[in-house]
């Protein structure tokens, strides 16, 4: 039994410490918002926040989380903070999703990008979001939505789309 602080609640998960957080979320906690895309840290679909930082949950063993808080797309959707709300609002306004499968990971990565940077420009977006693949290639709208979210948060940089 591994205890994890999950979206603000302490939860005991009946799993071994070597199970990746991704599968603990999806199959043990019943939270399927975080998606499986590659299992190798290459696509970003499984992005969550651990201890406030974006992490590919397919590569993080349950036993290595310790006391750090885990925040998933479910937590963001249920009670978004100012940055999270700005991201969701911009995403919705641009109708970013096509198939939508990668979008929870995109949103989590975008939130982390805005949390970690005072200004957002195209170079920041390129660097911060290149780890999140979208097979539908919704990148034009992801970029536009990020710029809008940044502007709403007063984080506008140079080189807007």
């Amino acid at each position: 039994m591994i205890r994890v602080l999950l979206n603000g609640k302490s939860v005991a998960l009946a799993a071994d410490g070597d199970m990746p957080l991704l599968w603990a979320l999806r199959d043990v906690a019943g939270m399927t918002g975080t998606k499986f895309g590659c299992g190798a840290g290459l696509c970003g679909a499984c992005t969550v926040h651990v201890g406030g930082a974006a992490v590919r949950s397919c590569g993080l063993a349950l036993g290595d989380i310790g006391e750090a808080e885990v925040r998933t797309i479910e937590g963001v959707a249920a009670a978004p903070d100012a940055i999270e709300a700005a991201v969701l609002k911009a995403w919705d306004a641009h109708d970013v999703a096509q198939c939508g499968y990668c979008q929870p990971g995109q949103v989590m990565a975008a939130v982390a990008l805005l949390q970690d940077n005072e200004t957002i420009d195209d170079a920041t977006i390129d660097a911060g979001m290149a780890g999140n693949a979208c097979r539908c290639a919704t990148y034009v709208r992801i970029r536009a939505a990020l710029h809008d979210a940044a502007a709403a948060l007063g984080k506008t940089g140079t080189g807007t789309a």
């Binding site: 009946a14 019943g30 499986f36 590659c38 995403w91 693949a133 290639a137 034009v140 970029r143």
Partner: protein, 729 residues
């Protein structure tokens, strides 16, 4: 008291847009609009079904209205990211005069003839036809329900139906009477279904073409949409399947001891497709599979390497079995040509790599089965499952969920990934509830690719440098053979292998087009835009090369051959104008121009490309698309943007290669996808060149591959003879 969540006591299934009423309740439905089971929507399979039948609903094949006025549209097609669930709902809602904020959509059950495609046979999604084939049908469905609501209100209010207006889900009458649709849904169900209904004048549309809010995006952004891989059933186990490393290889023996020793692994079951490891959760199943020892027969299956396959395709080009087009006398015309030009092109296998690796859930009680997943050819899949389980098709319920991408993979005509579930359910026996998940490695190495293809052209030019004749051959596997959709094993000319070729799209006086069906055991299937994925590339490069060779402007060169194709010409002119065709460009920059008619739509793209030290950088793509009428301009733009990104991945990076029959690639490190930093800026112009909506999911995805190759030729002065164009990142 903290929550203890155990992996072996799964909660009941989520109630989402993907879940729907039991089969029993659906059997009671008919076009007569019999009110039934309003509570059925939102019930979770596996939980106790409510026995109460709510009378206050109107329920028809394509829509239901409940007592609160919520309108549910039943979509007979799969939404795999092309936005059609919202689009189909818009059509119904428009003629219904629904309140768009009270409209939701879910997948229709597998049921013929109600949900048949109106162009093809069967309940199926493909060829960018969902909106086009549904347009009239859904307009009638919405208008019919509206008429019945009006009739019910007229009867209740004692007024003439002609005096009642409908708008935003409300019925109103000048006398002051008003009601929401929910209040009359039950009574409407008792009205006779009219044979004829009046449809709106498109000038009066309030939803279609007006930028209506998408129904699905907010939920997708929040991780609230259920895909096949997210399905959770009571008592559901998780399976992964160990499949042969070479296509068609046979298992000699396997040793399950190591697998069964992994905690959480319950069963190891041989299937025709491989060995299934069934466990309490996906991780345990994957670890169990890693511990499985399987011995494969060394000699069976496709064991050639890509170089040998390429040579085989080259031999096939020499002896094509089928002539697919003959116009005039190409041989004679070539003999009389002023100049003859040869060209050859090679295209690799392509994996679809949808972000949701194929996954589905199913359960079986011995007499019936239910499956959940992103099904693309659902009645074909249903028949395959029924055959494996020995059940009548009516006892196989298919719930079609949103798919996390498909690009054609899910439409494999032999139902490979769905039949596999049927075999697993059969092996597990009555009481089975299980999900099969593919890993990314399973997906990339699993076959069902866009065929590896070679083209050979001999083009004859007249004295003015124009094309007088083309003699061409395409060698690439058939997608139909050996499948229920094809003619069994009898070879037929497979138009999917040659669609969109040069003589089909340009005015060329004499042409012979032949197709060679090679003998290769790698499974193949439809891939976004199918044959256009190579014919667009090859023909546009050939045409552009000839223009450069003869000193004729590449836009003019094409336009001169599009005299009978005004819609192709229009998008081509538009894209060229958007790109500033003819204006000087900075050093190291070139514009590649390409046009294609596909899926009854017309798309031209002008790609501004820079090359620096051999690296290809696509800065901007100007695109003109004519899809008849754009029902949802925002989604048309999205599909084209996405199509360009998808096509750019293909053109720059994508190749599946084999060594001794084993696929060399396995994940995104060696089968890379375009990332946000490689995505060009995109400018889309929509031309409404028709009076009906035509396809948009595929047409935007192929011109880019030609456009970039053309720009590369222009910049390097060297011919492009093969794709992909760039080394893997």
């Amino acid at each position: 008291m903290t929550d203890v969540i155990s992996g072996d006591r799964m909660a009941g299934p989520k109630v989402t847009d993907g879940l729907r009423a039991s089969r029993r309740e659906f059997v009671a439905l008919s076009l007569r609009g019999i009110a039934a089971g309003g509570l059925a929507l939102g019930l979770a399979p596996g939980t106790a079904r409510a026995a109460v039948i709510a009378p206050a609903t109107l329920r028809q094949s394509f829509l239901a209205i409940d007592a609160e006025g919520t309108v549910t549209v039943f979509a007979k097609h799969l939404d795999m990211g092309q936005g059609i669930w919202s689009g189909l709902a818009q059509i119904v809602a428009e003629e219904l005069d629904a309140d768009w904020d009270k409209v939701r959509v879910e997948g229709a059950p597998a049921r013929m003839p109600d949900y048949s495609h109106t162009f093809f046979s069967g309940q199926t999604t493909g060829g960018s036809t969902s909106i086009a084939n549904s347009y009239d049908q859904l307009r009638r469905a919405g208008a019919t329900a509206r008429a019945m609501l009006v009739a019910a209100a007229a009867r209740q209010w004692g007024v003439a139906a002609s005096g009642i207006e409908t708008r935003d889900g409300k019925l109103t009458h000048p006398s002051g009477k008003r009601a929401g649709y929910g209040e009359f849904a039950g009574l409407a169900a008792q009205e006779p279904v009219p044979d004829k209904v009046a449809l709106k004048d498109p000038a009066a549309f309030r939803i279609i073409g007006k930028g209506a809010r998408r129904l699905d995006t907010a939920a997708k952004h929040r991780g609230q949409i259920q895909y096949g891989i997210d399905t959770r059933l009571a008592g559901m186990l998780h399976a992964v399947v160990a499949r042969a490393p070479a296509f068609g290889a046979k298992i000699l023996r396997h040793d399950a001891t190591g697998a069964l020793a992994i905690q959480g692994v319950r069963y190891v079951l041989p299937l025709p497709s491989g060995i299934a490891v069934v466990a309490d959760n996906t991780w345990a199943a994957m670890r169990g599979r890693d511990a499985l020892v399987v011995e494969w027969h060394a000699a069976t299956g496709e064991r050639r390497s890509s170089t040998a396959l390429a040579a085989h395709l080259g031999d096939a080009l020499d002896k094509p079995q089928f002539t697919v087009l003959e116009r005039g006398d190409a041989a004679a015309a070539l003999k009389g040509s002023a100049k003859v030009v040869d060209a050859e092109f090679a295209f690799p296998y392509l994996a679809h790599a949808p972000m949701e690796p194929l996954a589905l859930a199913g359960r079986f009680d011995g007499k019936s089965a239910e499956l959940w997943g992103g099904f693309q050819i659902v009645t074909i899949n249903q028949a395959a499952v029924a055959e494996v389980l020995g059940l009548p098709a009516a006892q196989v319920a298919m719930t079609t969920l949103n798919a996390g991408g498909s690009f054609g993979r899910r439409a494999s005509f032999d139902s490979d990934w769905v039949a596999e579930m049927a075999y697993l359910l059969k092996a597990m026996g009555p009481g089975a509830a299980v999900q099969i998940t593919r890993t990314r490695e399973d997906d990339i190495t699993g076959g069902y690719y866009r065929p590896m293809t070679r083209h050979r052209y001999r083009v004859g030019l007249d004295n003015a440098g124009r094309i007088a004749a083309v003699d061409m051959t395409i060698a690439g596997q058939s997608i139909f053979y050996g499948t229920p959709t094809g003619q069994g094993d009898i070879p037929q000319a497979d138009m999917l292998a040659v669609m969109g070729h040069i003589a089909e799209r340009y005015d060329i006086p004499a042409a012979r087009v032949r197709w060679a069906n090679p003998d290769i055991a790698v499974p193949v299937t439809t891939f976004r835009s199918i044959g256009n994925t190579h014919t667009t590339y090859a023909k546009e490069v050939v045409v552009d090369r000839l223009a450069r060779m003869t000193g004729i402007d590449a836009l003019d060169y094409r336009l001169a051959m599009l005299g009978n194709a005004p819609r192709q010409a229009a998008v081509l002119r538009k894209a060229a104008a958007m790109a500033g065709w003819g204006k000087p460009l900075p050093t190291g920059h070139a514009i590649g121009l390409a046009v294609q008619e596909s899926e009854s739509s017309f798309c031209a793209q002008a790609a501004l490309v820079e090359m620096r030290k051999g690296d290809i950088r696509v800065h901007k793509v100007h695109c003109a698309i004519d899809c008849g009428i754009a029902l949802d301009p925002g989604n048309v733009r999205a599909q084209v943007e996405g199509g360009i990104g998808f096509g750019l991945t293909t053109a720059l990076y994508s190749a599946i290669t084999l060594t001794d029959g084993v696929v060399d690639q396995s994940n995104f490190a060696d089968y890379p996808l375009l990332r946000i930093d490689g995505m060009p800026a995109i400018d889309v112009a929509i031309i409404n060149g028709g009076d009906r909506p035509t396809g948009v999911g595929e047409p935007g995805s192929t011109p880019i591959g030609a456009a970039v190759a053309i720009a590369v030729e222009r910049l390097t002065g060297k011919p492009v003879t093969a794709w992909p164009l760039a080394a893997a990142r």
